[in-house]
């Protein structure tokens, strides 16, 4: 199936005095899986609705496969939308829900009538073709046993699969999914996540997936677009996003679950001073601004308190999390840090132990107070 590329060009949207979206530019390659990630209220769902044509942008353009979509009605955009609430037709059976997009597009209003429609020769053939395609889709999603049921008689996971089926059956060129996993319980969410990944691999349809869950975004996406307050902050592959967050908001949002932060003065001679310790980190340090040094718990190591260059810290609390443990420490410089170490190495530690803390210079970031770590990094070129 041919997938389409999608170009989002300088999209802006206001509700009254509030800028919901500002100058969003994003290019999605054909067949790519891109996640829009951000906290609730950041505008990611609005952007999705603008792409679908359910909402009108105040500025900017959406193009798919080179075609300008701004004046095209939602149903003619050749895309399918999966809603968070599933939005199934409550009075139709599962079969009729899945068949609805085909019936509405391929049969005339006369052919849709129950008795007369059956007498029209063209309609019989088309109806058979619809039945075949609904059958293929329901088999793919393991819905065959449920075709006669109403949505009200289905579980959340089953409704979710019906919603996916209704979106897939038409073989759209672009999939839009608005938090489709948010209403499922944890185990089912992971399972359905896997299903979506599998379906995308099979069908290679361009997909835009909205979520506020960084784990979901990382698990599914080719690239993740992080949105804060209506602005696109960073577009990158999940691994790059994890390694190189462009600003403190992104780093915090992607912290799982903790991020260490400490305010520092402007770097001098390529080094930062924290308390009495000099730390040289890889980040370009030419800005001459004060800012924040941030690093993940897994990039901090605990050492003997006398080791030169280490920050003097005192253990306050230990949280065990399976193979690893999070060790909370107070630094003498007046900050609290978390180090993630193996449970084995955490075993001898006790509250009140005095230790040293080393920061991995390769994996620590300096965010100048002006915002972005590397200005001009916001482009979304594929």
């Amino acid at each position: 199936m041919a997938a389409l590329d999608l170009h989002i060009d300088d999209i802006g949207k206001r509700y009254g005095a509030i800028d919901v979206l500002r100058g969003i530019c994003l290019n999605v390659a054909a067949g790519e899986f891109v996640t829009l990630l951000g906290p609730s209220g950041c505008g990611k769902s609005t952007l999705l609705r603008i792409i679908a044509g359910l909402e009108r942008a105040d500025q900017g353009h959406v193009r798919a496969g080179g075609r300008e979509l701004d004046a095209v009605a939602p149903k003619d955009r050749d895309l399918a939308f999966v809603f968070q609430s599933y939005a199934l037709y409550p009075h139709l059976s599962v079969y009729d829900n899945i068949a609805a997009p085909l019936v509405m597009r391929e049969l005339s209003s006369l052919e849709r009538l129950p008795v007369i429609g059956g007498l029209l020769p063209g309609a019989v053939l088309r109806k058979r073709s619809i039945r075949e395609r609904v059958g293929q889709t329901s088999a793919l999603l393991k819905l065959d046993a449920l075709l006669e049921r109403r949505p009200s008689a289905l579980s959340g996971g089953q409704r979710q699969r019906v919603a996916l089926g209704r979106a897939m059956v038409r073989k759209p060129k672009i999939f839009l999914m608005d938090e489709p996993l948010a209403n499922l319980d944890a185990a089912l969410r992971i399972h359905t996540r896997g299903e979506i990944a599998r379906l995308h691999k099979e069908m290679q349809t361009t997909t835009i997936f909205v979520t506020h869950d960084q784990a979901e975004a990382a698990a599914l996406s080719d690239r993740v677009a992080v949105i804060f307050g209506g602005e696109l902050r960073q577009v990158a592959a999940p691994a790059d996003l994890y390694r190189e967050p462009v600003d403190l908001d992104v780093a915090r949002f992607l912290a799982q679950p903790f991020l260490n932060e400490v305010a520092v003065a402007a770097p001098m001679g390529g080094a930062l001073m924290i308390g009495g310790s000099r730390i040289i980190i890889r980040d370009a340090l030419g800005s001459g601004q004060a800012g924040t040094l941030a690093f993940r718990p897994e990039h901090a190591t605990l050492v003997d308190k006398d080791q030169p260059g280490a920050l003097a810290v005192c253990v306050t609390r230990i949280e065990h999390a399976g193979m690893d443990a999070h060790v909370f420490v107070n630094a003498e410089v007046g900050a609290e840090f978390v180090a993630r170490i193996s449970a084995e190495r955490a075993r001898p530690l006790r509250d009140g132990d005095n230790l040293g803390l080393n920061i991995d210079p390769e994996n620590a970031w300096f965010f100048p107070s002006s915002g972005s770590r590397r200005p001009g990094d916001h482009s979304g070129a594929a």
Partner: protein, 277 residues
């Protein structure tokens, strides 16, 4: 103690309801009994007339032979069905638009609908009568049907019902290729079924029993609806005093409504409860 109190207050409220029910039902009971009693024995001084077989045969025989009761009832069915179908055909899209589509002037239109609820039919009677007379439609089904096809009550009822319908389903329908009209018919109408059922009862009862409007526009006995027909029969009175036959006519005319109500009672009550958001 609490139990005793609540059961005694329960008895009191039941007694009030029972009294109300008896007051409501008594005229109907009397009508049925009188329709079965010979003319001479209806007013013999008892509270309730005493039915006899030959009285029943007499009264119903007179009712069916002396007046074209079946013709009146056929007229009533044609008129009520036509009114109901057209009312729903108009009110469903209107209610959908007022509930779910945004267009300039929507708030004003909604206010206009609410104001329309306040205007009794007596006010526009003369202009409508003149319009029908000038178009030569008096004494026709059209005169009985056309003035009623826009029901602001139905528009308002359906609008209230549609407002709570989830918008995402409508968005999904638009993406699936439904036009706004097919959304109204294929998605909103089935969802509003309880409201449609209770409105249908209201509409049918109102127009089946309506005496006022048919009296204004109908003079030809062939076009009369049941209520007007019986009133006409009483006045034209081969039997000004034939109460038994009149009551038999009344029973025959009321029976279809009672049957309809019993048939749709469940939907009717559900619609009233749901419609009251």
């Amino acid at each position: 103690m609490i139990l005793a109190q609540s059961s005694s207050s329960r008895i009191a409220s039941d007694a009030v309801l029972m009294t109300g029910a008896i007051v409501m039902v008594f005229p109907f009971v009397w009508m049925i009994l009188a329709s079965l009693t010979p003319q001479s024995e209806i007013f013999n001084g008892d509270l309730l007339p005493t039915p006899t077989l030959h009285g029943a045969i007499d009264n119903y025989g007179t009712a069916l032979s002396a007046i074209p009761l079946l013709r009146f009832m056929a007229n009533g069915i044609v008129v009520c069905v036509a009114i109901l179908v057209l009312q729903i055909a108009i009110a469903i899209p209107c209610g959908y638009a007022l509930a779910k589509l945004s267009f300039p002037g929507r708030p004003i239109l909604l206010v206009a609908v609410l104001l329309g609820l306040l205007v009794p039919v007596q006010i526009p009677t003369i202009p409508i009568y003149i319009a029908l007379a000038k178009s030569g439609l008096l004494d026709s089904y059209a005169a009985l049907v056309l003035p009623w096809i826009v029901s602001v009550f139905a528009i308002f009822l359906f609008r209230q019902f549609f407002v709570t319908f989830p918008d995402e389903v409508l968005d999904a329908a638009r993406l699936d290729g439904f036009s706004e009209l097919s959304i109204a018919w294929r998605i909103m109408l089935p969802a509003a079924w309880p409201a449609v059922a209770s409105f249908s009862i209201f509409s049918i009862v109102a127009h089946w029993n309506d005496l006022y409007w048919p009296m204004v526009v109908i003079t030809n006995p062939d076009m009369m609806t049941p209520s007007l027909g019986i009133a006409y029969f009483r006045q034209a009175g081969e039997g000004t005093g034939n109460v038994g036959a009149l009551m038999a006519g009344g029973v025959l005319v009321t029976a279809p409504l009672v049957a309809l109500f019993l048939l749709m009672q469940k939907h009717f009550i559900r619609g009233l409860v749901l419609g009251r958001h």
